[in-house]
């Protein structure tokens, strides 16, 4: 059943890689394991000492180890192979699942494995005593599995399956506290927004599959890179449609609205799914199909670029006005995803994935840090925090590292990845977009500094006495802080570009510009923007005022209101899309059904019964039946007379009988 797929794609792939040997061949284990673990947790979890968390942790730990091994293999030798399992054929189509083990997917395995492991450890403590603890871990494990299904997909179909499965897990986890209607609504919003985007993805996949005659990604890419006519004709539309799918999952404007609402879920969920892994699926998809986009669908890539830039800027602006700490981070995530998409759009494959890589660590760190704070103060609102740096030193320190990394100051991770994106924009000559991206960097630095100041500086404005979280929670923070600090050092132009090699080790070659050294113009602009953002925020919230009322200084009403209302996008969706469908259309269809169609049918019944009444009254009752009844009454009358001869006396009967015999006999005799 397992087929190592080895057609002649080797020629154009990167110079040196291996098929990964036995570890690649058995990589399916890490995909299947979480599902088994989820089953085990469901059935046995409640009776275990940690209520199932140990199974989840064990499986994730295994994934982590396995991905480390694969990661090591990839660093040292370079791995690129894919495996297929046939699960049925339909028409001439082979439906296949399988797994890809190459640089791109291994990078994702590693991110998923590492962040999952840390988040799981963190969650054991964070979720302690919470409702549906076991189910939480079931879903989380399921999510890890689904994410691995997604990133290991060698066929578009499996990709779609993983794509939707992570969506469901996201639904389950966002709606974890479903007693509150708000939370279940947020979960629904996330699912349906994604589903809308999935329609694009689905149609895109259908178009690609039917034009190329295969669902295998590598084959589609082969055709794309060899300028097959068929795929060329649909490249633009398919590229756009698939990007719509990516827009949903990776929260690109205008489909980003679900991500901030998704913060209704528990914080570890936000850290794992809505920062590090799931939301990067769109970027991953663009990366996976990059040869396609880069070659024949480059027009679609321009659209990608535009939406990425819009997202990175618009979402960053909203982050400034948020009071909810998690929402600041959520909008920040949207904005950073915008950066990644921008990178992809500008043709910088490595830069986009590099930002994905660094962002996964520092954003997970920030979310977990925020979770630690929220755990301590029991509120999400920054207006009820403040001054926490003394009470929560470790959280504070790690949070600062994350913030600095996000703001893009050297030598932390964000600096390198953001710089590459800016450099790529500069190199490609997208000057306007370059300026916006730099402005975005400024905004990023500004809102993060604002968030830090509001949370950790000034006076404590909340209730109770917050204290530092347990070491179970702070240890992952520190590990992530370490990664946030060093993750960027794996791709320093001119010094060490290992990451480029890692993610370009794949069967379908990537052609892109790899800078020999830093683009000093881009570097300085980015650095300056970051420093300016931090400085301005410090000036506003610390120097000319204090964290409590710093917002007042920059409340430029019209803009502020638009931002607070998220550009009225939600209102627009509800007023012009959701409500009309849910209320107007649905109600009118239902009315049409019951009032018109049914009435039509029922009137048939009425007509039939009216005709029936006429036939019955006039023809049947008045005619035939009357005649019949006359017969019957006549018979009755006659009978009542004739019955008198029925005396019941046997002898009389015999007499009648014999008289008859005689009469008949006489008649017979006379006639004969």
């Amino acid at each position: 059943m397992v087929v190592n797929y080895n057609i002649n794609l080797l020629a154009e792939a990167k110079a040196s890689y291996t098929d990964g040997g036995i570890f690649a061949e058995f990589a399916w284990i890490i995909v299947v394991l979480p599902f088994l673990a989820a089953l085990l947790i469901t059935f046995f979890g409640k009776n275990l000492p940690l209520k199932g968390a140990e199974i989840a942790l064990g499986s994730v730990f295994f994934i982590f180890l396995y991905s480390c091994i694969l990661f090591y293999l990839n660093i040292t030798k370079g791995v690129a192979s894919e495996f297929f399992v046939n699960v049925g054929s339909i028409g001439s189509f082979e439906i296949e699942f399988g797994w890809v083990v190459d640089g791109l997917s291994i990078m994702m395995y590693f991110v998923v494995g590492t962040v999952s492991l840390l988040v799981f450890i963190y969650a054991i403590n964070y979720m302690e005593g919470e409702i549906r603890y076991t189910f939480f871990f079931t879903s989380l494990t399921l999510f890890a599995g689904s994410m691995l299904v997604l990133v290991s997909a060698p066929t578009l179909l499996q990709l779609l399956i993983g794509w939707e499965l992570v969506g469901v897990c996201s639904y389950l986890l966002i709606g974890h506290y479903w007693e509150e209607k708000e939370n279940s609504s947020a979960a629904m919003k996330a699912f349906i927004t994604n589903k809308v985007a999935d329609v694009g993805l689905m149609i895109g996949i259908i178009i690609l599959a039917l034009t190329t005659g295969t669902l295998r990604i590598s084959e589609i890419l082969y055709q794309a890179t060899h300028d097959y006519e068929a795929i060329k004709s649909v490249a633009y539309i398919a590229g756009i449609l698939i990007f719509i799918g990516a827009m949903g999952k990776s929260a690109q404007f205008p489909l980003h609205v679900w991500l901030p609402d998704a913060m209704a879920g528990p914080t570890p969920v936000s850290a794992l799914m809505h920062a590090a892994t799931m939301v990067t699926a769109g970027v991953y998809l663009l990366g996976r199909l990059f040869p396609f986009y880069q070659g024949i669908a480059h027009q679609a890539l321009d659209v990608v670029l535009i939406f990425g830039v819009i997202t990175l800027f618009s979402a960053g602006l909203i982050a400034i006005v948020q009071d909810d700490l998690k929402k600041v981070l959520a909008y920040s995530t949207v904005s950073q995803l915008g950066y990644m998409v921008t990178a992809m759009g500008s043709g910088a494959y490595t830069a986009g994935l590099f930002h994905l890589w660094t962002h996964a660590f520092f954003k997970a760190l920030l979310f977990l840090g925020a979770g630690s704070v929220i755990h301590a103060v029991h509120t999400n609102n920054m207006s009820e925090m403040g001054g926490l740096r003394k009470e929560m030193p470790r959280t504070f320190m790690t949070f600062i590292i994350g913030t600095v990394a996000l703001a893009g100051l050297p030598p932390l991770a964000g600096f390198f990845s953001k710089d590459e994106i800016l450099a790529s924009l500069n190199h490609e000559g997208h000057n306007f977009f370059f300026i916006i991206a730099v402005a975005g960097a400024f905004i990023t630095a500004f809102y993060m500094t604002r968030a830090v100041l509001l949370t950790f500086y000034g006076e404590y404005r909340g209730h109770g006495h917050p204290h530092e979280s347990d070491s179970m929670m702070t240890t992952p923070l520190m590990v992530l802080a370490f990664f946030a600090a060093v993750a960027g050092w794996v791709n320093i132009p001119g010094i060490y570009t290992g990451f480029t090699n890692w993610v370009t080790t794949r069967k379908n070659g990537i052609i892109e510009h790899h800078p020999e050294s830093f683009d000093y113009f881009a570097l300085s602009s980015g650095l300056f923007a970051g420093l300016a953002g931090i400085g301005l925020a410090y000036y506003i919230y610390q120097v000319i005022s204090n964290p409590e009322n710093g917002d007042e200084k920059i409340k430029f009403q019209p803009v502020w209101r638009v931002l607070e209302n998220k550009y009225y996008l939600d209102d627009f969706y509800f007023k012009y899309i959701v409500d009309p469908i849910k209320i107007t259309f649905a109600k009118s269809v239902d009315k049409f059904n019951t009032e018109i169609l049914d009435r039509f049918i029922n009137n048939f019944g009425n007509v039939a019964s009216f005709l029936g009444r006429i036939v019955y009254d006039k023809l049947d009752q008045g005619g035939i039946d009357k005649a019949l009844n006359l017969t019957s009454t006549g018979t009755d009358t006659l009978g009542s007379k004739v019955k008198l001869i029925q005396t019941g006396k046997t002898q009389q009967y015999i007499m009648y009988f014999l008289t008859g015999v005689i009469v008949i006999s006489v008649l017979v005799l006379l006639v004969l």
Partner: protein, 172 residues
């Protein structure tokens, strides 16, 4: 006219007289006895006609068994013994006479017009051949009729049995 003819006319006369007695007497026992006479004469006629086995059957079955049954029936139903003016339904008498005479007339008319052949009285006994035919050609009817008889006997017993569910003790 031979002697046997004259003898047979006497027999027939006796038969008719006895038969008439059966239906006219107002004494139930007399009626039964008259029936015995009728049957006896019938048996003799059968002997005369060389149907000796049927004659013997008449004697044994009818006179021996059926009549006894009738006598039991008469006694069990507490029919008044001796003269009983109530025995006949006088209202019916005229019409009954009319009917029976009409039937007799019709029958006679047909018989006289149709059958004017001679009776050939065969020599010797017919019992043996009768038995053979009965058990070869008529074996199935024979078996069936025996089954019918058995069924009738069982049925008679079932009906006549004293059934507590239907009848009170003191009424019998």
């Amino acid at each position: 006219m031979e002697a046997i003819d004259i003898f047979s006319y006497f027999l027939l006369l006796g038969l008719l007289l006895a038969g008439a007695r059966v239906v006219t007497t107002s004494n139930v026992i007399h009626a039964a006895v008259a029936l015995v006479f009728t049957l006896t004469i019938t048996a003799v006629i059968f002997l005369l006609l060389a149907a000796e086995f049927v004659g013997l059957v008449i004697v044994m079955v009818y006179i021996g068994a059926v009549i006894v049954l009738f006598l039991f029936g008469i006694m069990i139903t507490r029919a008044p013994l001796g003269e009983n003016a109530e025995l006949d339904n006088d209202k019916n008498k005229t019409i009954a006479l009319l009917i029976s005479f009409s039937i007799f007339g019709i029958f006679s008319y047909i018989l006289l017009n149709t059958f004017d052949r001679q009776i050939n009285i065969t020599e010797g006994t017919s019992t043996e051949i009768l038995g053979q035919i009965l058990l070869s050609r008529f074996v199935y009817p024979f078996e069936i009729v025996s089954f019918v008889l058995l069924a009738a006997l069982i049925g008679g017993i079932t009906i006549a049995r004293k059934d507590n569910a239907l009848v009170d003790e003191d009424q019998v």
